[in-house]
């Protein structure tokens, strides 16, 4: 468990980091929290020739809301920052529910939300949370910035749309059209375990009516799955036993689980339905968060 030889750079500006990445080509890797990259390097599953550590880049550890309610999370904002965030606790129920379920405190102190999105692990929790919220990733490269919707960002297991010379500088969650409700449930065999199944549900409601719904699934497919039919079953309706059951079975339908030592495909599918139902039932019983 010792990595192969690599060159290490820790630039102080985004421009310099991009220059280094451009020169490094396919053999360069960005290092953010290192909680996924370093284990892969130790196992020699990843062997980059150049590691560009972005931890010295100034001004990227923020998470803040624009006046219109748009939430921006910088590339060096740690899981732990989000776990302790009063802003999230007050305005983002799905994110606030997910943050403490990621790994353990040691990993949360270093790992980043943006890094987790870039890593594109089908078992990563943030990808489904951000997907359910209709979020996007802002990438910066030699030609400036571009915004990539989360629906397009992940191109496969452990693959994203970034060019080798691009850095993801922030994640963006659009403002809610109405009141936010939602939650994240994760089946872990033990604290700190990766998800056997994770379910993110994000609703924007006006009165009792759901105006926008996002449901996304962790760990039950080759990538994070957007359960669009499940979300559609809720849009325009209020949360009733019938609409909840319809969403739950549509979500289970969308799952593509595989049988492995965490459980059978059937079990995982069952858990998807159970979790969708649990979150929505809770949403229907609880008052909505203040509009973001």
């Amino acid at each position: 468990m010792y990595p192969s030889r690599f060159r290490y750079e820790a630039p102080h500006t985004v421009a310099e980091a991009i220059r280094l990445l451009a020169a490094g080509g396919d053999n360069a890797k960005v290092l953010a929290g290192g909680q996924s990259l370093v284990p892969l390097m130790k196992l020699r599953f990843a062997a980059p020739e150049l590691v560009v550590d972005i931890n010295n880049l100034p001004g990227l550890s923020y998470h803040r809301a624009d006046p219109d309610g748009t939430l921006r999370i910088g590339a060096l904002c740690r899981h732990a920052d989000l776990e302790r965030s009063a802003l999230l606790a007050g305005t983002q129920p799905t994110m606030a529910a997910a943050a403490p379920l990621i790994a353990d405190p040691i990993v949360r102190n270093r790992g980043t939300l943006v890094g987790s999105l870039c890593h594109a692990d089908p078992q990563g929790d943030w990808a489904s949370v951000v997907l359910s919220l209709g979020g996007s990733v802002v990438a910066e490269g030699p030609d400036g910035r571009r915004s990539i919707p989360m629906t397009d960002f992940v191109t496969g297991p452990f693959q994203n749309l970034l060019a080798p010379d691009e850095i993801a500088v922030e994640a963006v969650i659009p403002a809610a059209q109405g009141e936010r409700r939602g939650g994240y449930l994760k089946l872990e065999r033990r604290v700190g375990d990766f998800a056997t199944v994770g379910v993110a549900v994000s609703l924007e409601t006006a009165g009792e009516v759901v105006r926008r719904a996002g449901i996304a699934l962790t760990g039950v497919g080759a990538s994070t799955i957007a359960a669009s039919a499940a979300a559609a079953a809720l849009t325009g309706h209020s949360l009733t036993a019938e609409s909840i059951a319809a969403a739950a079975s549509a979500a289970a339908e969308a799952a593509r689980p595989r049988t492995d030592h965490r459980g059978s495909a059937e079990y995982k599918r069952h858990m998807v339905a159970t979790f969708v139902e649990r979150i929505l039932t809770r949403c229907s019983a609880e008052p909505a968060e203040r509009a973001a």
Binding site: P3, L43, R190, T196, H261
Partner: protein, 798 residues
């Protein structure tokens, strides 16, 4: 009855003298050893479970700058002496012994089998070198299950065995099986499985081997449970004279049975050091630890139980298959212990025991905390299954069957007397502490709200060391030696073959010696871990409390007598009138006469005495275990099962233990807590999983899940008043009991929680997904017992 001279320290929760050093990061583990010119080893390991090795090419690795050497299996074979497993030899294991080399030569036998070793200036470079080693394999059909291994058509792992039977089938009968089963009201058939899981010490295996070419001496810094057993392995496999090998050990980061002797990789590291004339370090990483260090359990049992309608367990007839993995050693020794222990504290009339051991393409079977633990799992599971079928309370069926404490004691069907066994007392006490009636009320209320709580009780006894056998002590484990000395600085120095790796010997042995000899606790030094100075010994089998505690007590008594004899010359007082208290020798009743023991020792060392005075203040003591005795206890768990997710939460855990006279209650409780935590892990989380092709599925902590503080509840512990058997040594071992009895305790509780679904459990590993399967399939199960004469097979539910 002779007593310990003073009871100042013994019996008190004295703070561990090891802790200030270990807790402030000043421990010295193998990886902390850095010798001048030291090289680093890394192993090339087989990615395949079973294959012929066609060729191994290390040329490119050798050419890499920083790489000093690369050895293939053939190289190593030429550098070492072939032979069987050192531990098996020591323990006198019977049966055919597969022959194997330190590194694979003709074939690989499990995914992770070492094929070549690269020695380089750093571990980084050694691993770079490994990537350049090219191995050509010709894949063979994997033998990935015991069932396939039993099939005569399975390809043999070891040519010299001819098949995959590592321990040939044998059967023993105790009592009249036929009559007992014929006379029983009911006969049950169960198949019970225990899954493969493993020791995961914080510190894995490792060593620094340092060969001095000028002296021809090999010094090995080892992580081991016994420096002497490690030395035996080195001398055997490297073909060296005992006086040319020295094994040292410092702090050990846990072992649980893994680090006995020296592993193939450690011996290969030693051979490389000798070949190169330079120190070589190998410290296994976590992937190596999980993949290749060794695994345990994976045993299946076909159990027939003869029972009366009232719930008397009359007879058991058990067939056991043990999957010893590749390179069998320890696995071959387990069935005999299981057979001996199967009756437990119960009054069985007949026992049939048949066993067979197979070799498969998995990591080797190693000892893991209570290696024979499956006997308790099987027995305590069977009792609950029978109780359910007969509508008996689990506590009641145990009390009904436990042998009463009589004089002379009842004798276990397999031979040993159940002297001083307090099973009934611990069962009754644990039931009281858990307040079972109050729990049943709470359980009923919870069920009405759709919550599923369960309670489980299980009991065990452990031969730690076991009652004195009529033939007396025998074998290398049968007695314990110690050298004790009074040094000129006034310290009582104990030289012991025990090799502490979490047992707190530096504290507990010092407590006993301080009390018996008469010095403050801080004035005792416990020396371990150097074959040049400590006597033979092995830390394992929960034997050190009695064996080493006893030799410390008797040795300190003899050393005191010797010191007093010498002091009587010096002080011109009869030894009878002298005593040692608080580090001073003095005349009884005359405090002014006190002379520090350091002064006595200095006088003795001055050499100014005639031949008639024995001024050598040193003794060698040997202890055979005295009357010995059993450890044991009963545990109770309360669990809640989420029947939608399958998640089990252990809400409460109560242990009532009898490990004889306590030397240090805090140390005892630490041993119990650690064992229970491992037992909880075994049931809910841990599994060394292989797929059908023998690929290992649990090579990182992402997949091999260990319990954390969140999974282990506060464990409530109460100690029973023990029944003394020996004149003065009634300390008994407690190292393994927690891990032995926690699995059946937890599984019994889970089955109780799921009883509304009719769930019956015949296995030990119950992760969330499995819990839901059990619930889903429970409806289809049929009753498993049958009234005579029509006997039905157990439905199994799988």
């Amino acid at each position: 009855m002779a007593q310990i001279a003073a009871q100042r320290y013994t019996g008190a929760s004295i703070r561990r003298s090891e802790d200030p050093r270990l807790l402030t990061g000043r421990g010295r583990y193998v990886d902390d050893i850095k010798l001048p010119g030291m090289l680093h080893a890394a192993f090339v390991r087989s990615p395949l479970a079973h294959a012929r090795v066609l060729s191994v090419d290390v040329c490119a690795a050798r050419a890499l700058p920083g790489v000093v050497a690369a050895f293939t299996g053939a190289d190593l074979e030429a550098m070492t002496v072939p032979g069987p497993d050192a531990l098996s030899t020591l323990m006198g294991a019977a049966g055919p012994t597969p022959e194997f080399t330190l590194l694979a030569t003709d074939k690989v036998r499990f995914a992770g089998d070492p094929v070549a070793v690269v020695i380089a200036e750093s571990r980084y470079l050694a691993e770079d070198g490994c990537e350049l080693v090219e191995v050509d394999y010709d894949e063979l059909p994997p033998v990935a299950s015991a069932d396939f291994a039993l099939d005569p058509g399975s390809p043999p792992l070891f040519a010299n065995l001819g098949d995959n039977i590592a321990r040939s089938r044998s059967r023993n009968e105790f009592g009249d099986i036929a009559a007992t089963f014929a006379g029983a009201d009911r006969v049950y058939d169960f198949r019970i499985d225990v899954h493969r899981h493993q020791n995961v010490p914080m510190e894995g295996r490792g060593c620094v081997a340092s060969y001095d070419p000028d002296l021809g001496v090999l010094t090995m810094h080892a992580a081991t449970q016994s420096v002497h057993v490690a030395k035996i392995a080195v001398t055997m496999r490297l073909g060296m004279e005992p006086d040319k090998v020295r094994v040292l050990a410092g702090d050990i980061g846990g072992s649980f049975g893994l680090k006995i002797g020296a592993s193939r990789e450690e011996l290969a590291t030693a051979a490389a050091s000798r070949a190169l004339g330079r120190p070589v370090k190998w410290v296994e990483d976590r992937t190596e630890n999980l993949t290749a260090s060794g695994q345990a359990r994976e045993e299946s049992f076909n159990v027939r139980a003869a029972v009366s309608n009232d719930g008397d367990l009359l007879g058991l007839d058990v067939t056991m298959v043990i999957d010893t993995g590749s390179y069998p050693g320890m696995g071959g020794m387990v069935p005999a212990i299981i057979e001996a222990m199967l009756p437990g504290p119960y009054k069985l009339a007949a026992l049939g025991f048949e066993s067979v051991g197979v070799t498969t393409n998995k990591a080797p079977y190693v000892a893991y905390r209570g290696p024979w633990a499956s006997e308790t799992f099987v027995r305590e599971r069977v009792l609950d299954l029978i109780a359910k079928d007969l509508g008996l309370d689990p506590l009641e069926i145990r009390l009904r069957n436990a042998a009463p404490r009589t004089d002379p004691p009842a004798v276990m069907l397999t031979g040993r007397p159940l002297a001083g066994v307090t099973t009934r007392e611990s069962l009754e006490r644990v039931a009281k502490l858990a307040d079972i009636p109050a729990f049943r009320r709470r359980q009923a209320q919870a069920r009405a709200q759709g919550r599923y709580l369960g309670i489980g009780v299980a009991t065990f006894i452990e031969a730690a060391p076991g009652p004195r056998s009529p033939e007396g002590a025998s074998g290398p484990m049968g007695s314990e030696s110690m050298r004790l000395r009074l040094d000129e600085d006034g310290f009582v120095v104990l030289f012991t073959g025990q090799m502490p790796h979490g047992q707190s010997h530096q504290t507990t042995l010092a407590q006993i010696a301080a009390d018996e000899f008469g010095v403050p606790f801080e004035q005792v030094r416990v020396v371990v871990g150097d074959t040049d100075v400590v006597p033979f010994g092995l830390t394992g089998g929960s034997r050190s409390a009695t064996m080493t505690g006893g030799v410390t007590l008797h040795g300190a008594r003899r050393l005191k007598a010797k010191v007093l004899d010498f002091a009587s010359h010096l002080m011109e007082v009869s030894a009878m009138d002298l005593q040692i208290t608080d580090g001073n020798v003095g005349v009884r009743g005359d405090p002014a006469s006190a002379v520090a023991v350091s002064e006595i020792a200095r006088q003795a060392a001055s050499g100014e005495f005639g031949a008639d005075v024995d001024a050598r203040l040193e003794v060698e003591a040997v202890f055979d275990g005295g009357e010995g005795g059993w450890s044991g206890g009963s545990h109770c768990a309360v669990v809640e099962v989420d029947v939608e997710t399958g998640i089990v939460t252990v809400e409460r855990y109560v242990a009532v233990e009898d490990c004889g006279v306590l030397i240090n209650p805090a140390v005892v409780e630490g041993q119990i807590r650690g064992g229970v935590a491992q037992g909880i892990g075994a049931v809910l989380l841990e599994r060394s999983a292989y797929d059908a092709d023998g690929n290992f599925q649990s090579a990182t902590f992402m997949d091999y899940l260990l319990p954390t503080a969140c999974d282990v509840p506060r464990i409530e512990i109460e100690h029973l008043q023990t029944v003394p058997l020996d004149a003065d040594v009634n300390f008994r071992g407690v190292g393994e009991g927690g891990m032995i009895v926690a699995p059946p305790t937890i599984v019994n509780a889970i089955e109780d929680a799921l009883s509304p679904f009719g769930v019956r459990i015949y296995e030990q590993h119950l992760p969330p997904a499995r819990i839901l399967e059990l619930i889903a399939t429970a409806g289809s199960a049929q009753p498993s017992g049958s009234a005579q004469p029509g006997r039905s097979a157990q439905p199994g539910g799988r």
